[in-house]
């Protein structure tokens, strides 16, 4: 006992001396340095993410027909050229039409599919979900190629419904995911309570389930719209010559020309996307739907 007491006291004393005193002296500057480095790196990364968007806007407003930095003035001539161009306007309208049709199809099919997965007691539900989300990870260019080949084999040409079907396939995963997220989060006892109180399954569905899933469905619909509006690889194979979507028209223009018209077109599509996103944030809130 007597031999243990001093020993344990020295055991206690030693680490205190070693850690607290020198550590605070040694640790303080690196911690501040580390923090500064961390923030500096992150700000550089944010600049990398946002600089190209800023450059596009500058370029769209720059009056010279070639890239000039720093910009020499502000003009709207490229916007005038964009809105006066029949090709671009035709493509813009066609893109919006395709995006609207795609959004309707993907939302109806995706939301009902998600409901069936979450509430239908389907066997192999996990496999169904993995399959229906797979167009997100499988190359969209393959979806385009496979559909193109099928349309050639069936000799149907390049119909608009074929393009919309391709777009629906690559946008439906977004609707399924956002709808499933809501369905998994809400309390099934609400539905059970409605049924216990005498509501028929149909009435429960329309008065309890549907209002509760609406935000998820809406979020998915908006994602579907944006993805369809910007979709490239599927459209590449499926658009008919003469009726191209805006991204395809922009791409074809970019192959030969690098003037500000592309900048103006880009600003228009960025603005469209932002309006849609702000609408999304106002109506349902972004935060819970963007987790991958």
């Amino acid at each position: 006992m007597t031999s243990l007491a001093p020993q344990s006291r020295s055991d206690l004393a030693a680490p205190v001396d070693l850690t607290t005193a020198p550590a605070t002296r040694r640790k303080a500057p690196p911690r501040r340095w580390g923090r500064t480095l961390y923030l500096a790196a992150n700000i550089a990364i944010l600049a990398f993410l946002l600089a190209p968007i800023a450059i596009v806007i500058v370029f769209a407003l720059n009056p010279t027909p070639f890239i000039q930095f720093p910009p020499v003035g502000v003009s709207l001539r490229w916007f005038e050229k964009f809105f006066a161009s029949r090709d671009f306007m035709h493509a813009l309208v066609f893109s919006l039409e395709v995006a609207v049709m795609t959004t309707i199809a993907a939302t109806v099919l995706g939301a009902s599919g998600a409901l069936a997965i979450a509430r239908g007691n389907l066997p192999g539900a996990r496999l169904i979900v993995a399959t229906m989300l797979s167009p997100l990870m499988l190359p969209a260019i393959l979806t385009g190629l496979a559909l193109f080949q099928s349309y050639v084999l069936l000799d149907v040409g390049r119909p608009v419904w074929g393009l919309v079907a391709g777009h629906t396939l690559v946008t439906i995963p977004y609707v399924i995911r956002t709808t499933l997220a809501v369905l998994h989060n809400f309390d099934t006892r609400l539905e059970e309570a409605a049924q216990n109180l005498g509501a028929s399954p149909g009435r429960t569905f329309f008065e309890v389930t549907l209002p509760l899933v609406k935000p998820g469905v809406l979020a998915g619909a908006i994602f579907a719209f944006i993805v369809s509006f910007d979709q490239f690889p599927v459209s590449l194979f499926l658009v008919a010559p003469g009726s191209e979507t805006l991204p395809i028209t922009l791409f074809n223009y970019l192959k030969f020309d690098l003037d500000g018209t592309i900048g103006a077109a880009s600003v228009v599509s960025i603005l469209l996307a932002f309006i849609v996103v702000i609408a999304l944030d106002r109506t349902v809130g972004l935060r819970s739907y963007v987790k991958l």
Binding site: N121, T168, F232, L254
Partner: protein, 291 residues
């Protein structure tokens, strides 16, 4: 066990049928047809006597050009994944750990803004930045740092820069979810025990976020190897990747069988990646259930 979860398909289950039909007709059938076309000598609809052949696959395997194309595609994918991870991780960590709600919302907007900007537009943006007379070269020249423009575009470097910009948001969003689920008190405990913040990160946070790193990397790699617009424009039509080759076989040569065989190669690589990704995500969600 509550009787409500009895494994019997109810009427809501029938709602799966429309989307199942869409997938059957516009996904499985076309991909099946592509697989069939890849082993046929011609188009069976217009040609009466087509035979089964392995010539398309033999052509890919025997010609070093096509193997080189596949390797270029994979190499660009690997570089894109590595760089996206290196710059995505710090941002994801910041997003997961930031205390202020406004700060988080602003970071989220900054990450989502590029995602909402369209691939063609973003590639165009990088063309204005990286070309010989682009923003970066003009700035460097006017500062007197260079006399001859740097070759930033029309090579693999340019492609990787463009692809990283396009796919880093996917990395950030995947990582943020995983890092956010790591209990911050573990790091604090390590620091209280005398570890520097850097060491606490290396030995606690980093290993715990490994599933996120893996899932994000698989996702970015899968997306990068199937990219078309960015490699063709930033590569200046000079660097050949698998998607570019596939489209060229259709648009220039109308060689559907060979395009199908190339498509099957890309599909095989992608399917392996998807299975790995699902497996990793399964691990992550398993971990979540344990906590």
């Amino acid at each position: 066990m509550p009787s409500a979860s009895a494994p019997r398909v109810n009427s809501l289950g029938l709602l799966i049928l429309p989307s199942a039909l869409l997938f059957a007709l516009f996904f499985f059938l076309p991909i099946g047809l592509m697989a069939v076309m890849s082993v046929l000598t011609g188009n069976p609809v217009v040609m009466p006597n087509v035979a089964v052949t392995a010539k398309h696959y033999a052509r890919i395997g025997n010609d070093s050009y096509y193997l080189e194309v596949i390797w270029t595609t994979i190499r660009i994918g690997l570089w894109t994944t590595l760089v996206a991870l290196l710059i995505g991780y710090p941002l994801a960590h910041w997003m997961a750990r930031i205390k202020s709600r406004t700060g988080h919302a602003l970071l989220l907007m900054a990450v989502l803004a590029p995602m909402l900007t369209g691939i063609v537009v973003r590639t165009f943006a990088w063309m204005t930045m990286l070309s010989d007379k682009g923003v970066i070269n003009q700035i460097l020249t006017s500062l007197g740092l260079i006399t001859k423009p740097l070759q930033l575009m029309y090579n693999e470097t340019g492609i990787v820069i463009g692809l990283v910009h396009i796919y880093v948001p996917f990395m950030v969003l995947t990582l943020t979810g995983v890092i956010g689920r790591i209990d911050e008190r573990l790091e604090q405990a390590a620091e209280n025990l005398g570890a520097t913040p850097w060491r606490a990160f290396l030995e606690v946070t980093l290993p715990l976020s490994l599933p996120g790193i893996l899932a994000g990397s698989l996702l970015v790699f899968a997306l990068a190897i199937s990219a078309y617009v960015t490699p063709i424009l930033l590569g200046g039509f000079q660097i050949m990747t698998l998607p570019i080759l596939i489209y060229q076989q259709i648009s220039a040569n109308f060689n559907i069988g060979f395009a199908a065989a190339l498509g099957m190669v890309l599909l095989a690589i992608s399917l392996l990646l998807v299975m790995a990704y699902n497996h990793v995500l399964g691990l992550v969600s398993g971990q979540r259930e344990l906590q």
